[in-house]
């Protein structure tokens, strides 16, 4: 569900910390150096990175610029392949039978079993099509606010890590207390906020 949709879910962050060096140059390097690319990891993730907000296949930002007014507009794309456990089990069993028949062994050693499972998983991963997840992000560089188009904790965690890796600053979720600290001016008000305890609303 993209930010341009009729109905959007928004998670709001404050950008804490500075972008080192000339701002827009560092941002450009951060985006292009961390644009979406396929990865060779042992986990389920087979690709990750920034893409154009209007086109998740555009990883060079040729068709849509990433600077819109004073905003940085991006999508975070993450491709995963998850082989269903039973499919994996079925192929591992077949492969094991074939291997034992070929080698005339009675059973596999622990190391052989692990290796065989890994190689079957790798082969199946190569054959499968990934599931593509897209999360839109708008970074208001004037106010240091980021709007992320998802509430999913796993997605948020990934975007938070990737944002820091790409640009340097930390994304701090604008939860009520953090926002309250910003909205209240003056030390005495903030001290009162700090001292607040839950109120019982029962008579």
């Amino acid at each position: 569900m993209g930010l341009a949709s009729r109905s959007v879910s928004i998670f709001r962050y404050r950008v804490r910390g500075d972008v080192e060096g000339p701002f827009w140059e560092t941002v450009e390097e951060g985006i292009k150096g961390n644009a979406f690319r396929e990865t060779q990891s042992s986990g389920d993730v087979v690709g990750m990175g920034w893409t154009s907000l209007n086109d998740f296949a555009d990883t060079r930002f040729e068709r849509t610029p990433y600077v819109v007014g004073n905003y940085v507009a991006l999508s975070f794309r993450i491709d995963t392949i998850r082989i269903a456990p039973r499919i994996l089990e079925m192929h591992v069993k077949a492969e094991t039978r074939y291997f034992l028949a070929q080698t005339e062994q009675k059973r596999l050693s622990a190391a052989q079993s692990r290796e065989l499972k890994e190689s079957v998983k790798e082969r199946l991963t190569r054959q499968a099509l990934p599931s593509i997840q897209i999360y839109d992000l708008m970074w208001d560089t004037a106010t240091g606010t980021v709007y992320l188009g998802t509430h999913s904790p796993r997605a948020r965690e990934r975007v938070e890590e990737y944002f820091k890796k790409s640009f340097g600053p930390t994304l701090v979720p604008l939860i009520p207390y953090v926002r309250a600290e910003e909205l209240l001016e003056g030390k005495s008000d903030r001290r009162l906020l700090e001292d607040l305890r839950p109120a019982s609303m029962l008579s």
Partner: protein, 179 residues
């Protein structure tokens, strides 16, 4: 205090805000006056979730239905629960926004803004970027209304008025409302 401690220990703030907001919207017929001659319209729509925030094991109750059925939420308030999330409609002028406001994270779910200009009417010089900017400005406008309400709540919550007037009225509303 690190972030996770704040999240855990101060989660009550968002829930108290939502609970107060419901009370305020009911008490004022949905027109909440903010200092500075500003009025914000707030209507609680068809769903809310209430939670026993101070309990070791969370106990939550979800209520769905039309406006009148939401009054079942009063029964949950009488058990000491507070609102964790609610679908509301807010407006501070002509533009109206509906959203699911979430207390703990202060997140905005299913936020519907007024429609942006249809693409055939868009300025060719601005293109899709113009539409995107317009959409983001509308999102910010909706969130700003929530911020205005939250700032209004905070001002009361940290003042003496909270204990002397607001909390007693809120308690009375919970105790005396029909459901």
């Amino acid at each position: 205090m690190d972030f996770l401690d704040i999240l855990k220990q101060k989660a009550f703030l968002g829930r108290e805000f939502l609970t107060w907001l419901w009370f305020k919207s009911e008490q004022t017929g949905g027109r909440i006056e903010i200092s500075g001659d500003k009025t914000v319209q707030v209507v609680f729509l068809d769903r809310m979730t209430l939670d026993l925030s101070d309990a070791e094991t969370p106990q939550s109750v979800a209520i769905r239905g039309e406006h009148s059925q939401l009054r079942e939420g009063i029964a949950a308030l009488r058990e000491g629960k507070k609102i964790e999330e609610a679908r509301v409609s807010v407006s501070a002028g002509q533009d109206e926004f509906t959203l699911i406001l979430k207390g703990t994270w202060f997140a905005f779910g299913s936020l519907r803004t007024p429609a942006v200009l249809p693409s055939e009417e868009e300025d060719p010089e601005e293109g899709p970027e113009g539409r995107l900017l317009e959409k983001v400005h509308l999102i910010e406008e909706g969130i700003e209304i929530i911020d205005v309400l939250f700032a209004h709540f905070l001002k009361i919550r940290i003042s003496e008025e909270w204990d002397s007037q607001e909390l007693p009225m809120l308690r009375k509303w919970i105790a005396s409302s029909d459901h």
